[in-house]
Symmetry: C2
Subunit: 430 residues, 2 copies
């Protein structure tokens, strides 16, 4: 009896018509990372469970795919790329600084699947390890902007904030460090979703803040970046945050990003490990999709495995969200076959000519498929059509005798007889 073929809920097959354009997107992302000197790192899918446990909060621990392996080792599938990075840094002090790495890899979370929420999904992180200088923070903005540019996304804004400003704010309002502060930040983070009235109500009800504290928060949110430092006491971390934010803006301007970067004091990010710069990125007209690229500075996180403190800053691309956005903007060409040309096979006699034609095209950098078999021409053309291969080349006995081939452009229906050299010249890219 055969088993019913089926796939786990929250997991996906990516068939060629999706995977091919997605792979092209990921390749462009990786090339852009490398153009800034970020190098690839690969870590295992499975880790010792205790390496991951306690790093993502109680909720995160419950979402781990955790089990005993055949050797009774307590193991779990990776939940993100940051904790494995911290492990690698702790185990490889020889890497030195600056250590700039990117990693594009799946992670696994046993969440309830929903629209756009999967149990297996790709994460795509760039991080600069070992650099306290804000040039590293600015470089994450620059590489992020370059990635969006490489993908054809032109109208976006990088929103920046600094966690030290928020710490200064909480000190001024007398809100305790740790969980109370984090809870307030999580509420403030909902501003784009629930608006000022919603946030005010939640701060009162869920966070138990009085009217003065709530007003103080909104006074802060309305501050002009220029007047930010003066709002804080001279010894407040808010002053440091204001100075850092200004330096970041200057560094962004030096890289031609002044128009791309905006201060947004309401950005808090859910995660509690940011210590300085924080970023989010929105595509204009697509703000409802949420941030497509987020991150920040986390100068204490990498000590989770002991050792000396290691400053770090990074940014993470939401690749699935970005791919959905590219599709919506019409920037994704649906393709099921990487070949630009199908060379048909008329008969066993003309087959060598078909092979030679395909080899000449490939040598010129034109991806070319030879139909594997020689059924009726109609069937071979139909294959090109279904797979959206734009050109079909036929080499019938007449063409072969004349040393020619016939090129058909499936989009226009136009047919041309030409030599193989002329064909190659015509279809060679660039």
């Amino acid at each position: 009896m055969s088993i019913k073929p089926r796939i786990l809920k929250g997991f996906n097959d990516y068939l060629p018509d999706v995977m091919l354009p997605k792979q092209r997107m990921l390749d462009a992302v990786a090339r852009t990372f490398e153009s800034f000197g970020f190098a690839p790192l690969q870590t295992p899918a499975l880790e010792y469970a205790d390496v991951l446990l306690g790093k993502y909060g109680d909720e995160g621990d419950k979402l781990l795919y955790r089990f005993l392996d055949n050797g009774e080792r307590d193991v779990a599938l990776r939940y993100d790329l940051t904790v494995p990075l911290a492990r690698v840094v702790a185990m490889n002090r020889q890497l030195g600084a600056p250590f700039k790495r990117y990693q594009i890899a799946p992670v696994w979370r046993a969440e309830k699947p929903g629209p756009g929420r999967f149990r297996e999904f790709l994460q795509c992180d760039v991080d600069i390890i070992g650099v306290a200088d804000l040039m590293a923070d600015a470089e994450c903005l620059a590489v992020g902007a370059a990635v969006l540019g490489a993908l054809g996304v032109d109208d976006f804004v990088l929103r920046v904030n600094n966690r030290k400003l928020l710490t200064g704010l909480m000190l001024r309002l007398g809100i305790a460090d740790g969980e109370p502060t984090l809870a307030v930040l999580r509420t403030v983070d909902k501003l784009p979703k629930i608006g000022e009235d919603g946030v005010r109500a939640a701060l009162a009800k869920e966070n138990g803040l009085g009217a003065a504290a709530i007003d103080g928060i909104f006074e802060f949110l309305a501050l002009d970046p220029a007047g930010l430092a003066e709002w804080f006491d001279a010894d407040s971390p808010g002053r440091v945050g204001a100075a850092e934010l200004q330096t970041l803006l200057d560094l962004a301007a030096e890289q031609g990003l002044a128009d791309r970067v905006e201060v947004d004091l309401s950005i808090a990010r859910g995660l509690d490990y940011y210590t300085g710069t924080i970023y989010e990125t929105f595509v204009r007209g697509m703000e409802s999709m949420g941030s497509v690229m987020s991150g920040g500075r986390y100068d204490t996180l990498l000590t989770m495995f002991g050792g000396p403190p290691v400053p770090a800053v990074g940014i993470s691309l939401g690749v699935d969200r970005l791919f959905a956005l590219l599709q919506k903007q019409g920037l994704v060409e649906p393709e099921a076959n990487p070949a630009r040309v199908l060379v048909t096979v008329f008969s066993t006699e003309t087959r060598p000519a078909s092979y030679r034609t395909a080899a000449a095209l490939r040598a010129a950098g034109v991806p070319t498929e030879v139909y594997p078999g020689s059924p009726r021409m109609k069937k071979q053309f139909k294959h090109a059509d279904r797979q959206r291969i734009p050109f079909v080349v036929t080499v019938g006995p007449d063409e072969a005798a004349r040393g020619e081939v016939k090129l058909k452009d499936l989009a226009t229906g136009e047919q041309t007889a030409l030599t193989v050299d002329a064909l190659v010249a015509r279809l060679t890219p660039g």
Copy 2:
């Protein structure tokens, strides 16, 4: 108390100095696959256990990473890429034929780790689904040869055989189908390792064959391809196998691969699912590393989930083995940083000029890193040296005032002052 950072045995971190050249190798492999019209497919790491169980023999079942997930589902990490492919084909009949896909992805096997044997490793498969014509078998040879060529491996031989010849041989010798035949084939497969005497002894002792049968096997192995068909009775599957093998050789010759392909009647492949063509690939002078690329035709395997029979043929690259071989042949450039240029930062004042220089290089396609900070020049140069970045560009106040930069070639020590335009022209690839 912090947890000791450590990695599971049989699993690897690939740090940039290994991962960067390996990623370049994998990109070249993928590009070559695509140049023949193979498209990428991605399937989940986790599958329902029963989808995988019983497909790899009892031994394989034991090596699965299998567990109950949080929803008490019996799941397992994928063990290879072929069974998930069969599942995808069974669930997506709309894919039609020919369906040509490649997949490069990790698989997990709870084997005893040893030198070159890991619990997580990459598989790299190309398959042509839905095509009975031997042109598909020949295409796997052609794409495999193209991959090795793209990697700079020039001296290799594709060894081919046909499973129907072996079936004909067993029939002639009166060895029963199924396990007895498979056991004999597994013994014959050891020929390169244990030699003729070793195989003869094992066939007698382990397989219980008599002297006549053993002589028959070696008579077969010594046959000239030209006389192969006549060795079998007219109605033997061996005759079909001989004809198929001849057709494959003709097709290889039509694609200019005559010198690359050799018949080797001793190739049996351990796996029991091959039905026709089988291949192995050896790099000359490196035969002891074993086959770097193997596969064959499996016309019945894809029915494991029911449904009509679907012919299929494929080839699998041993990417880790191939990478080790490229390293041994000196074809791997050790690199820890994709940047070709490090632009140093002399001071805050000259920083904008450094950024502009880097942007100009990147725009011309030259991967360029800007040192994130401005410590002493010596430290910045040392970073370039450690990371094997070949060129360092400095923009001191004097150069900046003259609109120039200074280029240092770290290999020769040569220094040149030149304009940014001249720098870009000098370092632009191609």
